[in-house]
């Protein structure tokens, strides 16, 4: 009996006991199934519209293991195509980004417009006798695409719910990353330069970390000691966190989750970004505007979260979106985008950029320690004996709250308030609960349970 035959629930992912088999991180067969049952069916983050502002602009990105081209055609429409010639598979674009009228394959010369249509076929008249039906041989395009506040999302599954339905109530938490700090809708832009690097671990290690692993703070003690934070100490501004209710919020039916801080009513937000008076003033001004625009919802401060399955959000300090691309069961390739308010003054963007790169990424003093843990946690789990022993995910099991409310603010999702209890693994369990559902489910019909509930009403 292979690990895959044990069944995902409860066998490998036992939610009742809060235990998960190591097999799901290291097993080759399970990985192959993931590519079909997960990455081919979900919504994935592909890039940002500000990367392709003009007609003909393109950015080569990834979905799961595969290379895709994000581009804007001559009519201004955005597309995501599989980066592979329909004829014999060669990548039609091996540059990272640029502008082009056509994507031409260097192997036999087939050429595609930025709308994906096959427009150039050498010797179409002579060798093909005009029999090739060009309309059938355009670049493979994702059946579903969604543009949301500048971000671009795509799915290979035509039966997947539309993106906003896929998000459900999580949209409010995604907005914490994408809206202006002053509470205006959208208005974020990507800084130039997408970080790409490899970590020797399964993609689920970083994915679960960003779901809301509040327990591993001790691992970052060294960066807290040296003080890279925007107020000159620690790694983040802690005052606002220390006065807030600290929550883990999970959407059970969707598989998304996030940490979030809720500030008390009627108290001013403490100052932040104190290392620069210009930046501190900017954020103080933003806070005022935010409260004016958003009212009680301005009390929400974002913390790391994950859109199922592998898009990590860091809404505040730093502000970044990451995709954990699978590269076999034992390797992850991270792509990291960094965001700022488009309207922020240059000095603010400069400050944030400096902060971001000393915090995140392979040169980031915080993320370096995360990666060391993921690397060797994975390595130590590959052995025959190690695989027999499940991981423990039971922290806080049974102490979840529905309909959580704090001083009039009612939050969607199932909540664990960890202000006094310090930590929980509530959000991590949610990721794997949903993961197991995908691995077991035959189709989206079984996965979109909220539709079944609605139909029953």
């Amino acid at each position: 009996m292979t690990a895959a035959n044990q069944g995902y629930r409860p066998g490998l992912v036992d939610m009742a006991a809060g235990q998960i088999s190591r097999e799901i991180f290291v097993n080759e067969e399970i990985y192959e199934e993931e590519l079909e049952r997960l990455f081919a069916r979900v919504w994935l983050f592909v890039g940002h519209e500000s990367q392709i502002p003009k007609q003909g602009d393109y950015f080569v990105s990834g979905m799961g293991e595969e290379s895709v081209i994000l581009c804007r055609d001559r009519a201004g429409k955005v597309h995501v195509f599989l980066n592979s010639c329909r004829h014999r598979g060669m990548k039609v674009c091996r540059y990272d980004e640029g502008n082009t009228p056509v994507f031409t394959c260097p192997y036999h010369g087939w050429s595609y417009g930025t709308d994906g249509k096959l427009v150039g076929v050498p010797y179409f008249r002579e060798a093909y006798h005009e029999k090739l039906d060009k309309a059938q041989w355009g670049l493979v395009e994702v059946p579903q695409l969604c543009l949301y506040k500048g971000t671009v999302w795509a799915s290979w599954d035509p039966s997947a719910p539309p993106f906003l339905e896929y998000l459900g109530d999580f949209v409010r938490y995604l907005d914490l990353t994408l809206d202006g700090w002053d509470g205006s809708e959208g208005g974020t832009e990507i800084l130039g330069g997408i970080q790409k690097w490899r970590i020797p671990c399964n993609w689920k290690f970083p994915a679960e970390n960003f779901c809301g692993d509040s327990y591993h703070n001790i691992s970052h003690r060294s960066v807290d000691l040296v003080g890279i934070g925007p107020s000159g100490s620690g790694r983040r501004d802690m005052q606002e966190r220390q006065m807030a209710r600290r929550l883990h919020v999970a959407l059970y039916e969707r598989g998304h989750q996030t940490g979030v801080y809720v500030l008390p009513k009627d108290l001013p937000t403490p100052p932040s970004y104190q290392h620069s008076s210009v930046v501190a003033e900017y954020f103080a001004h933003c806070e005022e505007e935010r409260r004016r625009r958003r009212g009680e919802w301005a009390r929400l401060i974002g913390s790391p979260g994950e859109i199922f399955p592998n898009t990590a959000l860091h809404p505040r300090q730093p502000r970044t979106i990451a995709a954990w691309h699978p590269r076999g069961p034992h390797q992850t390739e991270v792509w990291r985008w960094y965001l700022v308010d488009a309207a922020a003054p240059a000095e603010v963007k400069d400050f944030l950029r400096d902060y971001y790169i000393r915090y995140s990424g392979p040169g980031g003093m915080t993320e370096q320690d995360d990666m060391e843990n993921w690397n060797y946690a994975h390595a130590a789990s590959r052995g025959t004996i190690a695989r027999r022993y499940p991981y423990s995910y039971e922290q806080g099991l049974g102490f979840e709250t529905e309909n959580y409310e704090f001083q009039g603010l009612r939050l969607p999702g199932t909540v664990m308030d960890i202000t006094e209890t310090k930590s929980s693994e509530h959000n991590l369990r949610n990721l794997y609960r949903r993961w197991a559902e995908f691995m077991d489910a035959g189709s989206w019909g079984e996965l979109a349970t909220w539709r079944i509930a609605r139909a029953a009403e």
Binding site: P101, T104, G109, S111, V119, G120, P122
Partner: protein, 68 residues
């Protein structure tokens, strides 16, 4: 046997002679060394093509014609 031409660097406005005896003028060049977009100026085999714009394949371009 004609020498191969690196069509990647040909500017719009360049006149080219094609393997079937036609001539065309480059309208735009995607700079991929494989295709150019060109307008037919003459076409002994098929005069109806004159004035139309098509993608011309590098291997069908035999000569650069000097400009006026």
């Amino acid at each position: 046997m004609t020498e191969p031409i690196n069509i990647r660097i040909l500017e719009p406005g360049t006149r080219i002679a094609l393997i079937d005896g036609a001539t065309a003028e480059i309208v735009s060049n995607p700079s991929d060394g494989v295709w150019v977009f060109a307008r037919y100026l003459s076409s002994p085999d098929d005069p109806a093509r004159i004035g139309s714009e098509e993608m011309i394949f590098a291997q069908d371009i035999v000569e650069i014609r000097p400009g006026d």
